[in-house]
Amino acid sequence: MPAPAHLPEQMPVPVPERRSFLGLLLAAAGGLVSATLAIPLMRFATFPLRVPSEEASWSDVGKIDEFLSLAEPVARTIDVKKIDGWRSSVVQNGVYIVPTGSGNFKVLSSVCPHLGCAVRWIGKRDKFICPCHGGTFTNIGVHISGPPLRAMDELESKVENGILKVRFQYFRQLVAKKEPVG
């Protein structure tokens, strides 16, 4: 049978200052523990912001022979592998293979540098036209008129075992300088 309310150490009758000091101490201790527990929570929630952005991957465009004697730009659809959190997804993007004379060519992204619509090759007019806001580019992607602030974006390309490969990237829109995003 425990004695009534006699705890090992007797509490003096609490005076207001003492009680509020204790309250402060309690709040401080509670705050400290909460803050410590908040660290793993914050690290957990902000994890995606710290994942280093992956190197853009190389995609196959097609056999190189197809593109050696082009008379005008041709469109190709490429599969781009992307790491998307816990899955890898394949998205399809359009590129243009553009002859630059004497059997050379370059690969342009079909994404308009203005606001990201898909630019079309209009053979009849010998120019690229963006259907959204009427931006136009020459047959090698140089900006002619309309809202875009720069030429169509060229993509890195290489040839391996007779296959033309391209590194698809997105570039910042609405700026004059070509800079990759993400």
């Binding site: 049978m1 309310a5 690290r43 816990w86 399809q92």
Partner: protein, 489 residues
């Protein structure tokens, strides 16, 4: 001396600072705080009373860690296991938080046991506290439901097969067993619909009910007042009281801190395992529930066959009813445990039987060579799986190609015409439709080539009203455009 004061006395009001005054005038927070902190405890603060606060604290911890885990978790049979694996192996602090959440469930079960034992031993359910007790019984059932539904979510072998067995038991219920089981599973078999249902129960339904019943439980507790030690009268307390703040609050906080510390240490040094993904065709897997359900599992083995209805359904139901009815049956004002042998001994016998069943189950699994070997294999498979690096899940590529290139020259020509004309501005670049104009995809099923060509040159009033400009094309171009339109599927 603990300050002997009347519960309602307004002495010892804490001094009120400037900003507090500002807040107080708008919220009355000061008297709310006083109300919360000056709860009188007959006979003073004790360590025996910390379990309720500890449970509340653990529940909050489960809510917070649960919400954070949901940042990455996807409740579908295709992705659940991958996402839990991603949380465990890739996301910073992921394994730690998942372990805190999983061990937190165990900690809640342990604390529930301590909280109930303390209440029974002290006779704290007496003295107009029946509803308080009943709300506690609901909370116990809800918490057991949380443990059961959360177990399936990782969708590994252990989760899948333990839940398959658990939901099989439900079909034993007379008359409504089958439909009840199908309702819970979302069909006759376990599958992705089961996972969705369990997720909804675990994340929305049960937590919502828990919060409501916790509020009710706390309200009824404050209404009845703290019961105090077991020599205190349950209805008219006589002992000198001590306020909840500071001593009891300090004890509660210290206890909660110790719980958190223990959880964090265990979660850090012995993180929970995730096993290989559920393989529904695996016939060799031996499911074993979590330790606190193990005795029930063993009991169902004992009462199988013709005793299953009585032993599996009726007896547990009767025991649960008896447990809920304790404050209605034991009505005297006597609270000392040695004067209440029926309730105290009954509870003790139940606990002893429950623990005994668990021990028997454990022993049986160890002595049966085949089972022991299989369980060891399963454990090893979990350890191996945890050692493997995270396997990224590859998605099949999007089967709908970008419509930049087409084989048919007529359609290709039509595509170019569609692009040259301002069609895409309203109908969408690929005829998918915008807010300005309807989609053209599938229009080939509605109109023949001739009808389409006619419509292009002779707009209906509705088309004119919608802002469609006249189309000025020669026959060849019209044919090409119509071919393109009919190719949009």
């Amino acid at each position: 001396m603990p300050d002997p004061e009347h519960p309602l006395s307004q002495e010892n009001q804490r001094p009120i600072s400037g900003w507090m005054k500002w807040l107080d005038r708008r919220t009355d927070i000061h008297s709310l705080l006083n109300e919360a902190l000056d709860e009188p405890i007959p006979g003073g603060a004790r360590w025996a009373y910390v379990f309720g606060s500890g449970l509340l604290y653990l529940f909050l911890s489960q809510v917070i860690t649960g919400v954070f885990l949901t940042l990455y978790y996807v409740p579908s049979s295709d992705h659940a296991h991958t996402t839990v694996s991603y949380i465990s192996k890739v996301v910073s602090s992921g394994l730690f938080l998942r372990s805190i959440h999983a061990y937190g469930a165990t900690a809640i079960i342990i604390l529930l046991f301590l909280h109930i034992s303390q209440t029974l031993l002290y006779g704290s359910y007496k003295g107009r506290r029946e509803l308080l007790w009943l709300s506690g019984c609901f909370l116990l059932a809800l918490m057991l439901g949380m443990a059961f539904t959360g177990y399936l979510l990782p969708w590994d072998q252990k989760a899948y097969f333990a839940t398959a067995v658990g939901t099989n038991i439900i079909s034993e219920v007379p008359l409504i067993g089958e439909p009840l089981q199908q309702l819970l599973r979302g069909g006759p078999q376990m599958g992705t619909l089961t996972l969705s249902r369990f997720f909804v129960l675990h994340v929305f339904v049960l937590p919502g009910m828990l919060i409501a019943f916790i509020a009710m439980h706390v309200f009824l507790f404050r209404k009845a007042g703290a019961a105090g030690p077991f020599k205190e009268d349950p209805v008219y307390p006589k002992l000198p009281t001590q306020k909840f703040y500071p001593r009891q609050l300090v004890m509660d906080m210290v206890a909660s801190l110790l719980i958190v510390l223990a959880l964090a240490l265990v979660a850090y040094f012995v993180p929970v395992h995730l096993g290989p993904e559920a393989n529904t065709s695996d016939t060799s897997y031996i499911p074993r529930p979590e330790w606190y359900y193990l005795p029930i599992f063993q009991w169902l083995k004992v009462v199988s066959g013709r005793w299953s209805l009585f032993g599996g359904i009726l007896l547990p139901g009767l025991l649960a009813l008896l447990f809920a009815a304790i404050p209605f049956l034991d009505r005297g004002r006597e609270r000392r445990p040695w004067k209440r042998p029926v309730v105290v001994a009954g509870f003790a016998i139940f606990v002893a039987c429950y623990a005994g069943l668990g021990a028997i189950s454990y022993r049986d699994d160890r002595t049966d060579q085949n089972v022991a070997a299989q369980l060891t294999r399963q454990k090893q498979a979990e350890i191996d799986y945890m050692r493997q690096p995270f396997q990224i899940q590859s998605q099949p590529s999007n089967p709908v190609p970008v419509a930049l290139v087409t084989a048919d020259p007529l359609i290709a020509k039509g595509t170019a015409i569609f692009a040259e004309q301002p069609c895409g501005g309203c109908h969408g670049d690929r005829g998918e439709g915008t807010t300005e104009a309807p989609a053209l995809i599938g229009i080939g099923q509605k109109y023949s080539s001739n009808q389409l060509a006619f419509l292009l040159h002779h707009r209906t009033p509705q088309m004119i009203k919608g802002g469609m400009p006249p189309v000025d094309l020669n026959q060849a171009d019209t044919d090409a455009l119509v071919a393109y339109l009919r190719s949009l599927k």
